[in-house]
Symmetry: D2
Subunit: 202 residues, 4 copies
């Protein structure tokens, strides 16, 4: 297996050092990836002064180019997001908008800059919304060139209109743990294949 | 208050006499409406031989024209739907597609056929998806001319990846009951206003 | 008719003085509202230093409380948003997240702070995505207490994968103009009714 | 390259022999796949008496088991769907619901029945909605175990509120053709890799 690297973009609305459930599930996803020998890091996007926009660099102290460099170097990119009102967080949307710029970025052989990279998603909320958040993320990520491994969405949500946070659960629920394990295992398998066997040049 | 009528379209995939959680929440919503003096009925769409299409009558024994007649006579139209894969049921989508035909139907004064009617939505699933289902239904219903009262979505879902059905709960959870009460109360208030004060002619 | 006020929240990613298609359609929507005697204003959210969060005031120079004051004073609230990757802009999502706080805000008689307010949406993009953006906005706005008038979504998008901006069209396409007129007319009618006839206390 | 097979599920609402734009784009997608040596077929789902449900066989003349057999035999599964009200067709939803049953179907080594299969989507509408339809389809297909190649969504839509059908265009627009070519090329590459290198057993 080739040496693989991963970056997990945590898209909580809360800057460090606030505790964050999406940060927790992001860390858990990274641990699963690391158990397969992947080297990776978690980036808490809201700490990095990322600017609104749809270019690769919005200037003026924009924190995105630093994050983008890590994405360009990674084989696996994960988004870890909270759910608000049944939808992905605004920080997640800001990340996806910045990735939109990659549609105009092609490498030496005409491949999209994200070609060959694999994407997965981890989602948490007090209640309801994970499937739709996964849909929004997978569609946007796939659109700019990411490949999506089988069962790429890991998640936890509570019962309707409950208020418990993921980070306050005593243990990770078994089924959520299973989705994390599966998403990571499949991501590693696929990223490994795509590293050795790139898509045909565009 | 004017005499108001309602029709609740239950969009379960299962024909009668199977028990159905969406049928249950549809009945509960109707009871709430009836407590305000509204007269109404529940229609289980899958029992009625409705055909796929986007016209008001697809012919060939199509069950839609009979349902449409009840909708045309109603002040309040509710959709009660199960969640499958985080999305509205195919039967719900079939109903929305049939309502698409109403965009071409205008009355004597140039108003859309659904103008002045109020819509609400009730959603149940084992887990996750209610907000998105509400979004899909409200957008489509609003598009063809329905008015949406405040807090128009009532719902219940269980914790992530659980398998309990709404109809197997011992009691209706208090918060779900609250969403039913609110949606019905607001629908009645708005329907009443719109009956007496129609939108300006188109 | 009571004196009505409106606020249009323009959710472009680009700060002033950049030209913006969503700013243009927001202004057009306001003009339509003004033609009915409504007094209103356009707020370009990205100019106001709004912070990420889900409270009414995130402190530290947060621009939201100033905007919130205008919303609390308004009868009609409109969101004007661009489409990115088929989805609402991150600035729109930031606004919706800030409005999420209103679920905990009730007035003297137990009504939600947004109760009685009417919401409409205007959407522009080079191509594809308006219906889904409208769905996301209407669901979230309705969830926190806004009432949605019939045909509340006005929009323009170009053909698949085209690059023309709304602001570069020679004229407003007739059908888009029609959606603006209808959304505004219906919003004014409904806001007027709700001002005189508030929802029952909660 | 291994011998690959594909099945394209056309999800138009109209039975044969009506002309159908989604049937056309489905055929075009199959042609692209065939140009890579893939053997495949188009199935018009609405012609097959598929029943509503979430099991692999709903009995009573259900047409799904016959389709399911073709899916089980295929390496690449495509959905070709029209857009109605900005959303996937009810027939598409019916197909996704039937595929939901596969979450309970595992093979000898504990892999999901859809594991190792690759999915792509082709979408057409008079106007607006392709991205969201792609999102709904990819999320549901990925959820049951399909892998999604880079840029898996091919589409055409017209300008806002236009009425031209895809099948009435003189030529396939270049950009739509490009999405078909890319989706097919990437699907073949990925399906080929996954045939030779299955995901680890569950």
């Amino acid at each position: 297996m080739p040496d693989l690297t991963a970056v997990v973009l945590v898209c909580t609305l809360k800057p460090s050092p606030s505790e964050s459930s999406s940060s927790l599930i992001g860390q858990q996803l990274l641990s699963e990836l690391e158990s397969h020998g992947v080297e990776g890091e978690v980036i808490r996007v809201v700490d990095r002064n990322v600017r609104f926009g749809v270019s690769t660099d919005e200037g003026d102290g924009d924190g995105w180019p630093g994050i983008r460099e890590r994405i360009l170097a990674a084989d696996i990119v994960a988004i870890a997001t909270p759910i608000w009102m049944g939808q992905p967080s605004s920080v997640t949307k800001m990340v996806l908008e910045r990735l939109d710029a990659e549609l105009s970025e092609t490498g030496a052989e005409g491949r999209l800059s994200m070609s060959g990279k694999t994407a997965v998603v981890a989602v948490v909320g007090n209640e309801d919304g994970a499937h739709h958040v996964i849909a929004e993320c997978l569609q946007a990520l796939n659109d700019v060139g990411f490949t999506i491994p089988a069962s790429a969405g890991a998640y936890w949500v509570g019962e309707a209109m409950q208020a418990t946070d993921y980070q306050d659960l005593d243990d990770t629920p078994e089924k959520t743990q299973q989705t994390l394990t599966t998403a990571a295992t499949n991501a590693v398998h696929l990223a490994s294949l795509l590293r050795t066997n790139p898509y045909p040049a565009g």
